[in-house]
């Protein structure tokens, strides 16, 4: 099982890196989906099968489809030279330094864990459901409102005004 973790982890990291460095939006999204799927595998072996399934259904299956949908609608993805112009090598310097400092901090902070090993237990969907609808009921309601706001917001923002007006309607 540890091997699976390492393999899936390596794939996730690698595909994430490829996703952020790729010039082609669709390819990058495919790498991202790959990364999500491998993280889903990690969820599964960490004893969270429900979350693993959700990751695939919602994240990889719905959110990423939305991304692809938008990229397809805008009909972009073959703008390599533009991306090459945008992605100059020196642009990586400062972010990398920040990331390195953050990584150092993380490692420094992680020393308190002292090689603790985990023996995960499988948490059944039912437990999560019970927890959701008792302890976190309010949060569930709030997320419902958030999603509603998201739907309305997306509908409103995404709506396009008709640019072509009939000549009789023009001033």
């Amino acid at each position: 099982m540890n091997t699976i973790f390492y393999i899936a982890g390596a794939i996730a990291l690698l595909s994430s890196i490829l996703a952020i460095t790729n010039r082609n939006a669709i390819h990058a999204l495919l790498y991202l989906i790959l990364s999500l799927l491998s993280i889903s595998v990690i969820f599964y072996i960490l004893g969270a099968p429900f979350i693993a399934a959700l990751e695939v259904i919602v994240y990889a299956g719905a959110i990423m489809v939305l991304f692809i949908f938008v990229v397809m609608m805008l009909n972009i993805g073959l703008e390599e030279e533009l991306e090459n112009k945008w992605l100059k090598p020196r642009m990586w310097i400062l972010p990398s330094i920040i990331a390195a400092i953050l990584l150092a901090n993380l490692i420094y902070a992680l020393r308190v864990l002292e090689h603790q090993t985990v023996t995960p237990q499988i948490i059944q969907p039912k437990q999560i459901g019970i927890s959701l609808f008792t302890t976190y009921l309010l949060a569930v309601e709030l997320s419902a409102i958030l999603l509603l706001a998201g739907i309305i917001g997306a509908y409103h923002i995404g709506k396009q005004k008709k640019k072509i007006i009939h000549r009789f309607l023009k001033k």
Binding site: I26, A52, A53, V65, M72, N75
Partner: protein, 314 residues
């Protein structure tokens, strides 16, 4: 080792059925539409499948030069993989299954949502405006119908108290879920047809307007994978309907459970063919309206009522 045999057996059966369906469908369509089906190659045209397969294997596997090659190649594979993987959770009988998973149903939903990519990417990678339109339609349609495909199953899950398909079948010993979950069944059936994008929901390929839509650039075995994938999908949805609503392998004991399962599945496959034979194709906006404005509220109502009744009976 036994494990590998089971997997191999399942694959064999499923692929055989899918291939056989090509012949079955054409014969049945001919029957219902009062014309001749394939009747030249072998007895009743049975070897037509073999002939088609030979043709497909030897056809030039052409990749358009303007296409995104990697994605173009991957796309049909995704469809096959996602559908074939889903068969892993189908309990064909009490003892004949690949995986007895606690999240079986979710596994199916996850895979079906990944299946969208094959069509979307296939259409996009073809770099052809008809294909792109087809795949945009497909992604919108499948996103829509996936939503209440998942929701329509929740009534079943609530009643059987599990995502595990084997337990769901066991829970139907007293009564098939098609009776208490009739709305769920109807919605799942419709959503299933939409998921496999068969007539009347074959809008992504719509020969008349989109010249076969997302797979118009495909040929050879890649086209074959899309083609077989469709029949695999039909089989899969039929097995799931049987498992979830019609008691799976359960049936009178004078015949083995496997028989009952395949009998019911065959019935629904024929039903799918009948749908194709008899129904016209709706307009795209009608399809979306129907989904969001009728099916979704219906499914939500179903969940509400089911939950209320379950609470009341406790």
């Amino acid at each position: 080792m036994e494990y590998i045999f089971i997997i191999a057996g399942v694959l064999l059966i499923v692929l055989t059925i899918a291939a056989g369906l090509i012949w079955v469908e054409r014969r049945l369509l001919a029957l219902w539409q009062d014309r001749y089906g394939p009747n030249r190659v072998g007895p009743f045209g049975l070897f037509q499948v073999l002939a088609d397969m030979i043709k497909i294997f030897f056809k030039e596997d052409w990749i358009p030069p303007f296409a995104d090659k990697a994605v173009f190649v991957i796309a049909p594979g995704i469809l096959m993989i996602s559908i074939l993987l889903t068969f892993a959770i189908i309990p064909f009988t009490d003892s004949f299954f690949v995986l007895d998973s606690n999240i079986g149903l979710l596994f199916f939903l996850g895979n079906s949502s990944l299946g969208v990519y094959s069509i979307v990417l296939g259409g996009w990678a073809s770099n052809n405006k008809y294909s792109l339109l087809g795949s945009i339609r497909a992604s919108a349609q499948m996103l829509t119908y996936e939503v209440f495909m998942g929701l329509s199953l929740m009534g079943v899950v609530m009643m059987s108290d599990s995502f595990n398909l084997r337990e769901i079948v066991e829970a139907q010993r007293g009564m098939w879920f098609v009776f208490p979950q009739f709305i769920g069944f109807v919605v799942f059936l419709i959503a299933g047809v939409a998921e496999t994008h068969r007539t009347p929901f074959d809008i992504p390929e719509a020969e008349g307007e989109l010249v076969a839509g997302y797979h118009s650039e495909y040929s050879g075995m890649k086209f074959g994978m899309f083609f077989v994938g469709e029949y695999l999908g039909v089989t899969l949805i039929s097995t799931l309907i049987v498992t979830l609503f019609f008691g799976g392998w359960l049936g009178p004991s004078f015949l083995p459970p496997a028989f009952w399962f395949f009998f019911k599945t065959a019935f629904f496959i024929c039903f799918f063919v009948l749908l194709r034979a008899s129904l016209p194709r709706p307009r795209y906006d009608q399809l979306m309206d129907f989904g969001w404005k009728i099916l979704l509220p219906l499914v939500l109502l179903n969940i509400l009522v089911t939950g209320a009744i379950i609470l009341y009976l406790q």
